[in-house]
């Protein structure tokens, strides 16, 4: 009789602990995912022609109009 009581107690504790475990936070199961794409800077327009030309020293040298400055007729300190 005493042995049956002990068995029932063990079973009861086991059921109680099992119920507690089912209420806890479960560990998420890993799910295979695709790798994230790398961040890419996207310009506002496809080609910024202003920047393209004005950062190109050779292009500017080629296209710059020579400045025609009339010789000053002023005399003395201004």
């Amino acid at each position: 009789m005493r042995r049956v009581g002990m068995l029932l107690l063990i079973l009861g504790v086991g059921v109680f602990l099992g119920a507690c475990a089912s209420q806890g936070i479960s560990t998420p199961t890993p799910v295979p995912t695709a790798p994230l794409p790398e961040a890419v800077l996207t310009p506002l327009s496809q080609t910024d022609y202003c920047v393209q030309c004005h950062t190109d020293k050779e292009a500017l040298i080629e296209t710059a109009k020579p400045e025609e400055k009339a010789p000053s007729e002023s005399e003395g300190v201004g």
Binding site: T47, D48, C50, V51, H54, S72, G78
Partner: protein
């Protein structure tokens, strides 16, 4: 300052395009078109968008742009104040035309100081279009203020040392002239640079001068009778007889000045005020003459004699020790330093009556 090549003036640095101003995109400020063809791209282009500062700079810097119209750099009101004072209202339209052609091209925009060299000296980007919070002294400030201020401050006159603040302190213009003072002017200071508060004033830094704990007794003895420059400036530039006209050959405006010379002249203060109470100041001869604008009409300055031609000056070549402050009598009794009537042209005597020193301070007997 070496002139920039045409391509060099418009070469943008890569780091500008990543800056906060660069990320706005060229067309946002300069208008024009996105096109690989140069001529097409430049249709409607605004080379200096800051000429319309409210539209461009004012979007973020509204508090500065709102007051900028009062700045003498923007308005050049000082010219009008003085020229109108020598004239009468009916002559103003002709004088406006003359000043527009000859005097007002130095008008400054935000971009002229913070992005490019000023247009009157050829323009061109300062640093690949990056916006320079503190403008370059030699490429911006003295590019315009070069013949007098720059030459004096940097010691370019042979035999005359540069300003002690530059020689010893390596101070640039902005060390004394704060951005707030350059961006706006208040009250009378919006009409002329020597009206209103002294901005800057020597005492802003040299607060001890004239106080009980000042170890230099001459400061206390002279008090507010002398402007600081009377004891601490040396020879500076004056000009005579500027005349303006439009060239018959090229159609371009030009000027001719009769003389430019170095001198050091002490006279009476032409504009004593609460802010500038001095009895004696140093005077510079302004290049104006009764016939300066005669190309634009006869007798356009009928009240020429209402203002002195020897005018209030603040030379930028301050020295601790100067020829006139070596001893009491290197100044007292030294007629060579003072604007006496014999040093004034006969046709300008009336105009300068109030600044001429009739009785120079007597020599001090040395026991």
């Amino acid at each position: 300052m070496a002139p920039l090549e045409p391509w060099e003036k418009v070469l943008i640095s890569a780091d500008f395009t990543q800056s906060i101003h660069g990320r706005a995109g060229c067309v946002a400020c300069h208008r024009g078109q996105q096109s690989p063809d140069k001529d097409t791209a430049h249709v409607g282009l605004i080379p200096d968008p800051s000429q319309d500062a409210q539209r461009v700079c004012g979007v973020c810097h509204g508090e500065i742009v709102d007051g900028f119209g009062t700045s003498l750099h923007a308005s050049l009101q000082g010219y009008r104040t003085i020229v109108y004072s020598r004239s009468v209202p009916e002559n103003h339209p002709a004088l406006d035309t003359a000043m527009q052609n000859h005097c007002l091209s130095c008008h400054t925009t935000c971009g002229d100081c913070h992005i490019s060299q000023p247009k009157p000296v050829g323009g061109g980007l300062l640093n690949g279009h990056n916006v320079e919070k503190t403008p370059s002294m030699t490429r911006v400030c003295t590019a315009c203020h070069g013949s007098r201020v720059g030459a004096e401050y940097l010691g370019k006159h042979e035999g005359i040392p540069g300003d002690v603040h530059f020689r010893e302190g390596r101070m640039n213009c902005m060390a004394c002239h704060a951005g707030t003072d350059l961006h706006a002017a208040e009250g009378d200071a919006a009409k002329h640079r020597y009206w209103g508060d002294q901005q800057p004033a020597c005492k802003d830094c040299h607060a001890q001068v004239g106080r009980a704990d000042d170890p230099i007794p001459q400061h206390t003895i002279h008090g507010n009778k002398l402007a600081c420059q009377v004891c601490h400036a040396v020879e500076y530039t004056s000009c005579d007889g500027c005349h303006v006209a439009i060239s018959e050959k090229t159609g371009n405006p030009f000027f001719k000045t009769e003389a430019t010379y170095l001198s050091f002249v002490i006279g009476h203060n032409p504009w004593p005020s609460r802010e500038r109470p001095y009895e004696y100041v140093v005077l510079r001869h302004a290049p104006v003459a009764p016939t300066t604008f005669e190309y634009y009409g006869e007798n356009l300055l009928p009240n020429f004699g209402l203002l002195p031609t020897w005018t209030y000056a603040t030379p930028h070549n301050i020295q601790r020790q100067t020829p006139q402050n070596r001893s009491c009598n290197t100044c007292h009794g030294n007629a060579a330093l003072f604007l006496t009537a014999d040093k004034v042209k006969s046709e300008e005597l009336e105009a300068n009556r109030r600044v001429i020193v009739e009785n120079i301070p007597a020599a001090i007997p040395i026991p």
